[in-house]
Point group: C2
Chain length 510, copies 2
């Protein structure tokens, strides 16, 4: 009997339509087909075409896609989901452009030195090649940009890796709609069906599908965005295979903020941080969770302005019952910890039925209590922020040292603050991206972007999940030694038929 599941409609708390989860045979067939598609190979122009047709198809879904995603996630169709859709479409086009341009293969050539003593130097040429089929695990909080045709899928397809997506159980309708677009693009490009597969997942098959995928012999890498427990479970399964595979897991993050009094008017800082903390219901992986500032009048102004700003926010709709459940539980635990004061919000029991709402919360704690309670330094995913009152900048630095790796770190300071440099050094040591006098939410899709960071923000701190360099996750280099021209890939031929940028005998050339 087929396994079925329903998601919860966040704005009502009512169950949505029933979906069928992929069975074991479907998972196996999708992975095998991906393996076959990989062995057949996907050429450069077919990849470009596929990415562009997918982008076009997503854009063509128009409001229908936004309405579906909004119904399933509770996120507003506009501007939130419209912005996410545009980002997803642009990201697919960016990767199409990257493949068309071609230099992403990092071609490096060195000429032979046949008369070198004591041994001749061979001709050596190196480029990146795709790893093989990639499993993609979508995130609940970005139903488009980190899901079926999101950054992991786009970068893997761009690299030449077939993709098998495990759909997220909290937006199955959106997933199916996007998958249909990608499948249509695969077919329109004349590519093998196995180039892209979508596995609807949920109910009692949800975890099983996750496991079956990452342990399937045809799968050679995986991308995940979600909770630390989910990410680490997959990473361990990947590492324990007879042939270990890389699992790139982008996980939790407290996104610390250090606000120094030199930053200027506390009210302005408070407003920006409060807005960032509750953006998308506080359900973005880059939402700030902890704010460190030094005791005194400026701290008090910041605290009261933040309390006012956060207290004024209407209850937010949360993504699904599990996210809301974890949030209310963690918030209640934090708010009742020793010496923590609730400045805004509430921690009472939420009704089990009805809309999945939660009231944004602000807490306050002195650094000594913060530093003696490790659970306060853990992520509380949702609209909650904790202000940590420190004695001085030394104390700020000591408090930062209690925080694990984070996607982002933010510093608010004046232009000549003598303490700024030391705080920067501490943030750089534990974050993938450092923001000055701004907010960490809003991840620009561009080459310098780092969306990753030290564990547990990411289990592979050398990687980024956003931007063109995200493609590196799905590749490995191959070196060709003394290989005749007609056996070399086009990217490495001496006459450079693709006109790509290469490093040739130490010089950049096209």
């Amino acid at each position: 009997m087929a396994s079925t599941f329903t998601s919860t409609i966040p704005t009502t708390g009512q169950p949505g339509p029933t979906f069928r989860a992929a069975d074991r045979g479907e998972v196996d067939r999708a992975c095998r087909a991906a393996g076959e598609a990989f062995r057949a190979g996907v050429g450069r122009s077919a990849r470009t075409d596929l990415l562009e047709r997918t982008a076009e198809g997503l854009a063509a879904l128009g409001d229908r896609l936004l309405e579906q995603a909004s119904a399933e996630t509770g996120l507003p169709a506009s501007p939130r989901l419209a912005g996410e859709r545009d980002r997803t479409v642009n990201q697919l086009r960016m990767f199409a452009g990257l493949v068309r341009e071609g230099s992403w293969v990092e071609a490096i050539l060195e000429s032979s030195l046949p008369t070198r003593a004591p041994l001749p130097k061979p001709d050596l040429r190196r480029m990146l090649v795709p790893l093989g089929p990639v499993a993609v695990y979508g995130a609940s909080n970005f139903p488009l940009a980190y899901s079926v045709a999101g950054g992991d899928t786009a970068s893997a397809l761009a690299a030449g890796c077939p993709v098998v997506v495990k759909g997220h159980p909290s937006h199955p309708g959106t997933g199916a709609m996007v998958a249909e677009v990608v499948r249509g693009a695969v077919s329109a490009c004349g590519l093998p069906e196995g180039t892209f597969s979508y596995l609807p997942a949920g109910g009692d098959r949800d975890l099983a599908i996750a496991r079956e995928l990452v342990t399937h012999p045809s799968i050679k890498a995986a991308g995940f965005t979600g909770s630390p427990s989910g990410g680490m479970a997959l990473a361990r399964l990947g590492a324990e295979r007879p042939d270990p595979i890389p699992v790139y897991a982008e996980m939790g993050s407290v996104n610390p903020v250090v606000a120094l009094a030199s930053a200027g008017e506390a009210g302005a800082v408070a407003e920006k941080l409060a807005a960032s903390a509750v953006a998308s219901g506080g359900q973005m992986c880059t939402c700030p969770g902890l704010v460190f500032a030094v005791r005194g009048a400026w701290f008090e102004s910041l605290a009261s302005a933040m309390a006012k700003a956060i207290g004024a926010v209407s209850p937010v709709v949360m993504l699904n019952p599990r996210v809301r459940g974890s949030f209310t539980e963690k918030l209640a635990a934090n708010a009742s910890a020793a010496n923590v004061r609730l400045l805004a919000g509430e921690t009472g029991q939420k009704p089990a039925e009805g809309p999945l709402v939660a009231r944004p919360a602000l807490m306050r704690v002195a650094s000594a209590s913060f530093r003696s309670n490790a659970s306060l330094a853990e992520e509380c995913f949702g609209p909650a922020l904790m202000l940590v009152e420190c004695d001085d900048v030394e104390d700020v630095l000591a408090s930062l040292a209690c925080i694990e790796g984070s996607l982002t770190g933010t510093l608010w300071c004046g232009g000549t603050d003598p303490d700024a440099r030391r705080v920067m050094t501490s943030l750089v040591a534990r974050c993938g991206r450092v923001v000055v006098n701004g907010v960490p939410t809003g991840v620009e899709v561009c080459a310098p972007m780092v969306h990753g960071g030290p564990f547990p923000a990411c289990n592979r701190p050398e990687s980024t999940a956003v931007g063109p360099l995200a493609i590196r996750r799905w590749c490995r280099p191959v070196c060709f030694q003394n290989t005749p021209e007609d056996l070399l890939p086009e990217e490495l031929r001496s006459d450079n038929p693709l006109g790509i940028e290469r490093l040739v005998d130490g010089q950049r050339r096209r």
Copy 2:
């Protein structure tokens, strides 16, 4: 009571002098000191200085180092160890040059677009930063180039990571001599002692030190060269930490060769392959282990020429009792497998005492038997080669499909062989480096080099252990958003004070 150990002198089989193994406290102190050194930071010019002084110090040891290493490994002082010493010295200088030049940080800058709609684009700048203290596990077969001051240590120090080396128990005297040079260089540069530590290891402390290092909270990455069992044990320990760390393990490799009859005179091919297979006693990670060729007269010529060439090689001295024991055991198992014929060498029991010698061996098997016995496709580390007789090129491809990932793959063929391309595709799919009409031994230290490959050649196929890009293993990217000039690292300042090559708004610039 201190734990002590002795190594075996390979040419005599007698025990060498007694060494003291590091105790648990020393491991802990070395790792903590590395953590402190990392937090203090090692500037660019200090790193350059350290690498160059180490190179100079190694060179200055002259014959004393070569004689010590030769006594402990059985490898000839000249040209083998002299060549390895030169490579090690040049590698240190290459990394010094890389740090001085500076572009290795992969700086990428994109300007802000403050008036962009709907949202302004922030100023974003990205570069690589060091991960933290690195544990290095030296290899027995390269007492200089892959050991105390070898490629892992040089690349980690270049990245700005302090290093803690676990000495290899089979060349403790060589290890101590090199460590003394590095410590002297650290001290001459005025760097903290924790920048480099050497832990002599052996006897009942050998595995314990390996474990204590990779699980120490101060250690943030590890590099290993050696057996698959050792590498995977460390990789699993690294993955199972509360904060998983990357372990880069370069492990076993069968290094398949496909010899097509179009390659020309079989005798010449045979001589080159035989010499490569027994180079350094067949104890190089890139020695060819399997040769596939198509049945017929050419195959028979190749087989008899190889049998003659390998039969003519004097018994080789092996590195240590464990390496010889594994070799003779694996060789005996292979040679006695169904339908395997021994064409040269012997598989009898080796004397437990006396010199650690072994006679090079050549075996022959038909592809059907090869394909039905997975153990024949496993590495047999030492001077042994197996010829696989295939029905046709299809059968060659099917046989290659039975091989796991390998560091190298080699193709011998004529210029217009129509089968060459398909064989290349298969080799690229399972190897880190592909060699045409040459031998896989001899790893050039240069930018296009890939010394790595799909599992089990390496557990991190995206990496190389040799060449300047080996530095990437010890780094992670950090992105700076809207950061004022005076809070940016020099590498990312707008005026580019270091004059390094950067990608600025999509253009390469200095």
